[in-house]
Symmetry: C2
Subunit: 150 residues, 2 copies
DNA sequence: TATAATTACATGTACATACATATAATGTTC
DNA sequence: GAACATTATATGTATGTACATGTAATTATA
């Protein structure tokens, strides 16, 4: 479905205006796709992202703020996402011995297993979503980087 | 800030994978910018979108589902967004005489005034966000359309 | 070193999303 | 036209975002 069909409108001021709407629409489609896939693993997108970040540093645990700065959506409430992962025993949480203000969070073996399964499915999905050649994707990345500069 | 700096990672499988993350990051930046601007008008992004859709059909009111299909984020809960707009007297709501299951929603003069002021500020912001020429924006739109096809 | 400022996290509230379910009105089918 | 299916909206719950505030620990400074 094209953007115009999707939102039943073609009243864009110019190409730049359309691009902003288009980006938000594309992101929504990508996220919706990913969330659907993750439902098979009883994970939300943000829970998946936090697990992925934790596995990246495993076995070293990370404190809340170090997880937060690695998330795309910076205002995500990491303590509450961690609550839900902890209930499912996908992470464990303990106070930092070095700085007792910090809570360290570590992915559990169960968390790694679930993440690995979800990631495998995700990669297949990614191939399917991004209907672009590598050259085209590189071009898209260049344009997005330029758009966001400074 | 580049994507890599923003999420402190450069571990992308390929350009297509990076493009998916990049789109979500760009959309987040655009939305955050817009939401900041709209705070000056005590509106959220979704409230603004609903008002814009209602003004598009004004003075003809729209029912809940006709608003929903015009929103980018299709699962938005239009009745509850309408609740908040109604409290602020930016819209009024009444049952449809033709189909009493439907609730018709119409933007008020106060709603139009607020929307117009917000839209003027928004257009200035849009110019500022999208650091692209018209040709580049057109290219970006073409790539996004291709990515999303079927 | 005592006090002040900062930092890290948790938590409360308002709003939004995602999805299930309830209810009333309309449409369909026999 | 009665029974059933469908549609439109509302509402409940879990999750997440955005932001303000509270509390404890650490750091800075007088």
């Amino acid at each position: 479905m094209t953007l115009e069909e999707a939102i039943k409108s073609s009243k864009f001021k110019d190409q730049r205006h359309k691009a902003l709407i288009h980006i938000m629409y594309a992101a929504y489609q990508v996220k919706t796709n990913i969330n659907q896939l993750l439902k098979n693993y009883a994970l939300t997108g943000e829970q998946y992202n936090v697990l992925r970040i934790l596995k990246g540093s495993h076995p070293t645990p990370l404190c809340v703020k170090d997880i937060a700065v690695r998330l795309i959506e910076r205002n995500s409430n990491v303590p509450r996402i961690a609550d839900r992962l902890e209930i499912k025993k996908l992470v464990k949480r303990f106070p930092s011995p070095e700085d007792r203000r910090e809570t360290l969070i570590q992915i559990t073996p169960a968390g790694i297993n679930l993440l690995d399964a979800a990631t495998q499915a995700m990669e297949a999905e990614h191939q399917h979503i991004a209907n672009l050649t590598e050259d085209e994707a590189a071009q898209l990345n260049q344009l997005l980087a330029q758009m966001l500069q400074d």
